[in-house]
Symmetry: C2
Subunit: 231 residues, 2 copies
DNA sequence: CCATTGCAGCTTCCATGGAAGCTGGTAGAT
DNA sequence: ATCTACCAGCTTCCATGGAAGCTGCAATGG
């Protein structure tokens, strides 16, 4: 039978989905800069659709913490203060730490597959560092951390991680240029991978925790000293 | 000046907010049972409003993972399989573990206040257990865990915890009746409190982790053996 | 000169209707 | 008997308009 079974999930995106994706992309790339305020009408015009899909997409974006809807004033793009970055880091520490432990507790076969994939990303990072390719390094690092959570196989954790990553994306783009010790990350990633490979859950969690804590302690003072009140 | 400054946050709830709160309550109390499917029209009628607020509230509830919107079919209340409970437990372990560590790292004054509040909830639990008051025990336990996360002061963690707790609420009501060893929880809570009080972050995290792991390992087999495919 | 009031213009909020899509059943053909 | 095509009825999706609320400014009264 050729039943397409488009019952679940795989439907063509509605206008609301389009609006959601488009607005999220604009925010990620700072084309809607933080603090920018616009009316739904204005955004609808820009996206070439009516106000309703924009309104409903804004609700979802507000739920994601990316915008705030000010009743009868408009939609405002949320800015991130250093305090927000601290919150975000703590969530990431919690989620990635647990994900690393879960990975290490898996059967050896699955652990091995995950470790190999993580190692591949880390290798790319090391190469990018040698080549002075900052963007490439950042992308590979992002892949490593996303893989770490996704391979743990907990859908709710994956979703939380995605949401929090979206929030931090703009700040990440900025801090990428401020970093100096890219080498430490590679070494720490390898320790995490090793702990997963040998199935040591406690160590995997601890290594993941330390890795993010170090990055946090390195970047937060930078953000504060640069007087970045919001981004 | 008597400016009310209703600029931020404190506005009277809109119809959408009403619909959101009402539907969430209906779901929590199983008056909309899991698996139940209804049209927006039907719910709008029941809540005495038009379809639009119901539609927008449904978007938020879907974002929370409580319902699914099936295009051109209706709104369906999400059921929880044991696999979902496992996911939820892992998220809670991650969040509460980190929250406990954060609390233990706070200045002594704040730690003390939090520890005292946590101890109060635990005392109520112990008393309820003596009195055979299962509902009272459950409520105090809930307060303990909510306080643990809220006192850590991370708004994003609090939100995640709230969302995940809402999802698990129905299952919690059910498993409450199945539990046997209520005493273990009291003892474990006291260990968590002690670690926070002396400022031992690693221990606090570990104790919180073990507490939830034990509960998970105790309840998940129960759910599975009772053949509870969904709730 | 300062405070208050009224008003105009902006915005979202919510209701409603047309359009399109999915489902299930029925009638017809093979 | 079985399979296909179609149709009716249901649903959401999206556009649009009226209503109400907030803001800022100008005019008015103290």
């Amino acid at each position: 039978m050729r039943v397409e079974k488009l019952d679940e999930a795989d439907r063509r995106p509605s206008l609301v989905d389009d609006a959601y994706a488009a607005m999220k992309e604009e925010i990620r790339e700072s084309r809607f800069p933080p603090g920018y305020q616009a009316s739904e009408q204005e955004i609808a015009l820009r996206l070439g659709m009516s106000r309703t899909p924009v309104h409903e997409a804004a609700i979802r974006l507000q739920e994601d913490g990316l915008v705030r809807i000010l009743p009868r004033k408009g939609i405002i793009i949320c800015a991130l203060a250093p305090a927000d970055m601290r919150e975000i880091y703590d969530v990431v520490i919690a989620i990635e730490g647990r994900a690393a432990a879960l990975l290490a507790e898996m059967p050896e076969a699955e652990r091995g597959v995950a470790a190999t994939e993580l190692a591949a990303h880390t290798t790319i990072m090391a190469a990018a560092r040698e080549a002075g390719d900052l963007a490439g390094w950042g992308h590979a690092d992002e892949c490593f951390h996303r893989t770490l959570v996704e391979r743990a196989g907990n859908g709710r954790m994956i979703r939380i991680n995605q949401t929090i990553t979206d929030q931090a994306h703009r700040a990440r783009m900025l801090t990428l240029k401020l970093r100096r010790e890219l080498g430490a990350s590679v070494a720490e990633h390898e320790q995490i991978i090793q702990a997963i490979r040998i199935g040591n859950a406690a160590s995997a969690q601890e290594q993941a925790y330390r890795h993010r804590s170090r990055a946090r302690d390195e970047l937060l003072p930078l953000l504060e000293s640069f007087g970045l009140k919001h981004l």
